[in-house]
């Protein structure tokens, strides 16, 4: 599925200097950057270029980053990484809730950027057929399909990875830090809000009642685990 290029990355940022610099770094790592400077045009460029990942600045002329994020998420599960100058809780959570998978706060180092992009593009193309179940949710790992009670559920790649990570070891309680490492690829402790927000999003898709979760269960004071259905 990958060409000679390691992936096409759409960079939505109005700061041309930064966009160009990001382009230089990405190109040197073998990615193919595509640029867009305006929030209003972002969706059109996205449709035209079909990127494998979107780097999205939150402060944009025209539509703001959150709105663009919501639009792209509306029609695609492509990984979205926000670039933000504000690392305040409200801004980050707002961005994550509008569908972003991860975020990088400015100023960041090239290595950091590349690591984040790689982590999101790292598709585990395991050839071995693997089938997992939690309660009445069945997961076809190589086929990237999830069904709940026979009905297909559409998950973004990140939500899928999160679910698979939990489902592979239903006996284990995952701390937020472990999940950050396994799913997001962070080696050092990072923002655990990422986990919280995405668990909420995952629950809203696969739980009967997200207020009373049965598939992704909170273990108080520790983290999350796959729900084990009795009998």
């Amino acid at each position: 599925m990958m060409s000679a290029m390691r992936g096409r990355v759409l960079v939505v940022d109005d700061d041309t200097a930064l966009a160009e610099m990001i382009g230089i770094v990405l190109r040197s790592e073998g990615f193919e950057p595509v640029f867009c400077e305006d929030g209003d045009e972002a969706l059109g460029v996205f449709r035209a270029t079909q990127p494998d990942l979107v780097l999205l600045d939150l402060m944009l002329p025209g539509k703001d980053g959150n709105e663009v994020c919501r639009q792209i998420r509306g029609e695609s599960g492509v990984p979205i990484v926000m670039l933000t100058a504000k690392s305040d809780t409200v801004d980050v959570v707002l961005g994550l809730e509008s569908g972003a998978d991860d975020y990088i706060s400015k100023p960041f180092k090239p290595k950091e950027l590349v690591a984040r992009v790689r982590a999101r593009l790292r598709r585990s193309d395991e050839p071995a057929p693997e089938h997992l179940t939690i309660g009445d949710v069945s997961i076809d790992v190589p086929g990237h399909r999830v069904e709940r009670a026979g009905r297909p559920v559409s998950l973004t790649p990140l939500e899928f990875d999160l679910l698979v990570a939990l489902a592979r070891k239903p006996w284990q309680v995952f701390t937020r830090e472990t999940l950050l490492e396994k799913v997001w690829g962070y080696r050092h402790a990072a923002d655990t809000r990422l986990v919280n927000v995405h668990v909420q999003r995952l629950r809203s898709k696969i739980e009967n009642d997200p207020e009373q979760p049965e598939i992704v269960v909170t273990v108080r004071g520790v983290g999350y685990k796959a729900g084990v259905t009795p009998t």
Binding site: D15, A17, L18, M21, I22, I24, V25, S28, A85, K86, D88, T89, K106, P107, F108, K109, P110, K111, L113, T218, R220, G221
Partner: protein, 579 residues
């Protein structure tokens, strides 16, 4: 027993009454003015009343006395004339004459009067005729020997006497004068006048006067009350409004009615309040603008800094291709960019605290783990500096509701600071916990600092010795941010130091939100210093526990569980929980 109990009860009640009176007297201007005015009015009225009453009585008595004396003089003349013209010769005739005169005179006066004819003292006569009276029974009671002797000296003589009646005595006056009766010689003619009518009038007048006085006092009281109320109410209102203003309700104003002095007071008061409000809101606005400016600048700088940073990295990555000068330049660019970035991050963090936008993301954590993480982070620096880093952890879990990111940042700052100033000596980290708090001390044995310096270490961009060169290139905001972080937890961050004896920093965090710290499980001043008795001035959080964030449910549950399992360590200090 019972009597004593009742007595005690009464005394206590009386005491309370007295105390409440004293309190009312002290606290209320109105009570004071009312009491004083009524008391003065009462005294004045008593004096005036006594004076008027006496004058009234005297004038009534004198008027009546004059009338009585005149009348009795006339009657005496009449009687004398009757005696002179009488042809009586025998004892029987004389006796008849006397009786007739007495009866005639008794009927002849104005109002009620009694008449007595008595033989003058020291007179003797062959006839045993001693007296004649309109009412003989009264003679003994009203005509005293002194009266008779006085009368015998000649002329008219009077005396106040009591007139015995069925129910007591009536005031009366008796007037006597000598008359010459044929055959038997000198007799004394007495007239007894009752003053009961005058007494009745006097009583009536005095009653009226007393009634008027009571009415006056009441009127005075009511007037004073109304007047003071008018004066005191605006003052009270002003006091209330001033209190509200002081509590921060800056839009509070006094109602302005009319044009009088009170209205002027209200208007000036309101003008003052408006002035204050203006000033405060202007200052608040200015401060908000300043804070936003700092925040905006920090944010605006981030995007170009990102570009520079990336460009720098790219150049730095290929530095081996450059000649030595450019290579060194790229390295300098790199390190200074790191420093610039740290400074910007700290500046932004401080501006977040200043704006009140810092949020505590608390969770139940073992503080020992956080200390270990911070020590791990500081270890490479300690190694480079040749400093021995010793961490002393308690065996028991030191769980507390903390924001691990912030606490680790505090500890890193303290460790880096200690290692920098240790000058190769050992740095000791000690952790201890009690029922209410967890404390971490970071002690170094380096250059130390003075008392004054210890009070300034948490100031922004403060440096103990401005002349001293910066070595590790800290931002100068690290300890200031640490202090804010500690305050955000409702905790303390304190510094102690002595020149040559090293320094000690103590972080004390409450184990749960809402615990108000009163002491720390660890001493700030190390036990191994000879000057331990001299306490350094410490900087202490004044965080209101009410403003502390609520606990997340999960953590509260976990903590409770642990606590019930723990054997609670005995606490020597009185500590209270704020909730």
């Amino acid at each position: 027993m019972r009597v004593a109990g009742t007595w005690r009860l009464l005394r206590a009640r009386a005491g309370r009454r007295v105390r409440s009176w004293i309190h009312a007297w002290r606290s209320s201007l109105q009570t004071r003015v009312l009491t004083t005015t009524t008391a003065i009015g009462l005294i004045m009225l008593l004096l005036v009343g006594t004076y008027v009453g006496t004058r009234m009585r005297d004038s009534l008595f004198e008027g009546r006395l004059e009338q009585v004396l005149e009348e009795s003089a006339r009657s005496t003349q009449q009687a004398q004339a009757t005696f002179d013209s009488s042809p009586a010769n025998t004892g029987v005739e004389v006796l008849g004459l006397l009786t007739d005169v007495a009866k005639a005179q008794a009927a002849g006066g104005s109002g009620e009067r009694e008449v007595f004819l008595l033989r003058a003292p020291g007179q003797s006569s062959p006839l045993s005729i001693n007296s004649a009276a309109s009412d003989a029974s009264l003679v003994e009671a009203v005509v005293t020997p002194e009266m008779q002797l006085q009368t015998a000296r000649g002329g008219q003589h009077w005396q106040s006497v009591g007139w015995p009646v069925a129910d007591g005595e009536e005031p009366a006056v008796i007037v006597g004068q000598d008359v010459t009766v044929p055959v038997v010689g000198t007799f004394q003619l007495f007239f007894l006048y009752s003053l009961q009518a005058e007494q009745d009038r006097l009583d009536f007048l005095q009653r009226t006067l007393a009634l008027a006085a009571v009415a006056m006092v009441l009127l005075l009281g009511v007037m004073t009350w109304v007047v003071t109320r008018q004066a005191v109410r605006p003052v009270r209102r002003a006091a209330q409004v001033a209190e509200r203003l002081a509590d921060g309700h800056l839009s509070e104003r006094m109602p302005v009615r009319g044009q009088d002095e009170m209205a002027t007071l209200a208007r000036s008061f309101n003008e003052m309040a408006a002035g204050l409000q203006d000033q405060i809101s202007r200052m608040e606005e200015l401060s908000t603008m300043q804070r936003r400016f700092v925040s905006d600048v920090s944010h605006e700088l981030r995007t170009p800094l990102t570009t520079i940073r990336m460009a720098g990295e790219v150049i730095h990555a290929s530095r081996d291709d450059f000649d030595p000068a450019v290579r060194r330049s790229s390295e300098l660019l790199q390190t200074q960019l790191d420093r610039f970035e740290d400074l910007l991050a700290d500046l932004l963090e401080i501006s977040r605290f200043d704006a009140g936008a810092a949020v505590l993301d608390a969770e139940g954590r073992d503080v020992r783990d956080v200390v270990v993480a911070a020590a791990d982070h500081a270890f490479p620096l300690a190694e480079r500096r040749g400093t021995w880093l010793r961490v002393d952890l308690p065996e028991r879990k030191a769980a507390a509701d903390i924001d691990p990111r912030r606490v680790e940042r505090i500890l890193r700052n303290l460790l880096v600071n200690a290692i920098e100033h240790a000058e190769g000596s050992a740095v000791e980290v000690t952790v201890a916990a009690d029922e209410y708090a967890v404390a971490v001390t970071v002690r170094d044995h380096g250059v130390g600092m003075t008392k004054v310096e210890a009070t300034h270490v948490f100031d922004r961009f403060w440096r103990a010795d401005p002349a001293r060169a910066r070595t590790t290139g800290g931002t100068g905001l690290g300890l200031a941010i640490s202090l804010e972080d500690a305050h955000l937890h409702g905790g303390w961050l304190e510094a102690w130091g002595r020149p040559g004896l090293g320094a000690s920093f103590r972080l004390t965090l409450p184990r749960r939100a809402g615990i108000r710290l009163t002491s720390s499980p660890l001493p700030l001043v190390p036990a191994d210093t000879s000057t331990a008795q001299v306490l350094a001035p410490v900087v202490r959080a004044s965080t209101d526990p009410a403003s502390l964030p609520e606990l997340a449910d999960e953590n509260a549950h976990e903590l409770q569980h642990e606590r019930s399992g723990d054997a609670a360590p005995a606490s020597d200090d009185a500590r209270q929980e704020a909730r």
